[in-house]
């Protein structure tokens, strides 16, 4: 195994993750030799990503496809399959985060988060399962959130969507293990974007060890590159014997109580 080219010659699909800093996945995967096919809603952003990847690893492609539109995504995937063949690796990096106490949550927000985190990846997996099986297997990685597993105030909707994604990911893992398709997820915590930015805004705290030390054991925020390294591990042959797993990338936040992260405002109802 060449550890500096962990995805050499691999056909890698990435859905979402074109906007910095979420492009860390694409940047790292390209450096490891992947041939990327990136799919996201914003074509201008996609073009900028491709430009920044010019000359890094293989030739890459961008296709417009909106992760918020589960009905439209299947057709885009069929077209992508025809042009590029089945992926060896598929990373689902699309994410939509909106947080509010439930009585103040916008009615459409839950629908939109469920669309991006559950319905769209479901539709994509439905298209990809057979070609990936016929291809002899591959790896699927979901960029998930620890709030799909543990609760926190203000994230009932986001947590429901990310929790559904984990449940789906585990079922896919069992359904396609015999075909050599590995399905795993990373679980990001409170300090990484998008929650980390929201948390700092809502709490009014300064970004430093004094604050992060109350949130999680690690005294600093995580970086998207650290999430990307974990995703790279799961996508590569290094994790060839791992399937059906969820890997926390959160500075050990899963180990400590965390419901106090968002300041509890006056909840007296009018």
């Amino acid at each position: 195994m060449r550890y500096d080219k962990l995805l050499e010659g691999r056909n890698v699909w990435i859905t979402g993750g074109t906007a910095p800093p979420y492009d860390a996945y694409a940047q790292l995967f390209a450096r490891h030799g992947a041939r990327l096919v990136v799919m996201d809603a914003d074509a201008a952003r996609g073009a900028r990503l491709l430009e920044s990847l010019n000359g890094v690893g293989a030739d890459h492609a961008f296709l417009a496809g909106d992760p918020a539109d589960p009905d439209g995504i299947a057709a885009v995937c069929e077209e992508t399959l025809e042009r590029f063949g089945a992926p060896d690796v598929w990373l689902y990096a699309a994410d939509l985060y909106e947080a509010a106490y439930i009585d103040e949550m916008r009615a459409e927000a839950l629908d939109q988060m469920l669309a991006v985190s559950v319905l769209t990846p479901f539709q994509i997996m439905k298209v990809l399962a057979r070609p990936m099986r016929e291809n002899g297997g591959g790896a699927v990685v979901f960029a998930g959130s620890q709030y799909g597993i543990q609760g926190m105030n203000r994230v009932s909707g986001y947590g429901a969507a990310k929790g559904g994604q984990f449940a789906m990911s585990n079922a896919f893992a069992l359904e396609y293990a015999a075909d050599g398709i590995r399905v795993n997820a990373i679980a990001l915590g409170a300090s990484l974007p998008p929650i980390g930015d929201d948390l700092l805004r809502q709490s009014g705290e300064a970004d430093g060890p004094d604050f992060w030390g109350t949130v999680q054991p690690f005294p600093r925020r995580g970086e998207l590159l650290e999430a990307a390294n974990a995703a790279l591990f799961l996508a590569s042959d290094m994790a060839g014997y791992i399937t059906g797993e969820t890997l926390y990338v959160n500075g050990a936040e899963q180990l400590i109580a965390h419901n106090h992260h968002f300041p509890r405002k006056d909840r007296v109802l009018p």
Binding site: M1, R2, Y3, D4, L6, H32, D88, G136, G137, G138, A139, N170, A173, L174, A177, A178, D179, G180, I181, R182, P209, G213, Q216, P217, F218, P219, G222, E223, E226, A227, N229, A230, L232, F233, D237, M238, A239, G240, Y241, I242, T243, G244, E245, L247, Y248, V249, N250, G251, A252, Q254, L255, I256
Partner: protein, 253 residues
Amino acid sequence: MNYEKLLEGKTAVVTDADNAVGKAVARLFARHGAAVALGVKDLREGYRLVSEISGLSKNSFAAACDLSDAESVENFCLEVKKRWELVNALVNDPWLDPAAVLPFERATDFDDSLILQVYQHSVVQTCRAFWPAMIAHGRCAVVNISSSSVFKAAPGALLFTMANGALGGLTRVPAVEGGIHEVRVNEIFAGFGVNGPECAKAPLKRGAAASRPDIDGVANTALFLASDMASYVSGVSISASGGAQRMRYAALN
């Protein structure tokens, strides 16, 4: 980060380095530039392994470390500390065959205490020996190799499961304590059958592009967790068992 030499310039300790997983971890860590201290039951096997990896890493050495004997573990840790001020990566890979998989009705008090020494006390001993320097330095890693039987119950393997279960505590508490220093502590649920009898069939197809032999899979997971690739990963338990952690376990005995 140099992904070809993920442990360049680092020191690593592997206990029970003469079992199948321990050997694979030692070889892989050496290939990635680490100097490895191999704690072995069989010194001749240890010396053979050191000469095998000496081309990859100059300062590796083997020393006697019988995990079932607290004094032997103590002496091994002293030997390591005599040579190195700091251990960057500590891999605890306890294995005891075959007493660990005795049904508890047939096991004796002696078996119980042997199992507890190997799976629990030896790990406390190595952590205690190397922890203060790790904390003082920061950004070091401990990897405990446990069993997926902790996740799904394997009938007949009560003592083994109980003993391995303790590695969870030995992972999560130090992970919280070490967090402020970014000393990371993680646990691998190796597939049952990596070192011993197989009682859960891994559903993952082997031989496919995505699939590798299980022992390499465990070693690569240990490498990931010990390296900066996992710089924000701590206190986790990850199964490297081909999905066996989600299957039904057959009776062992």
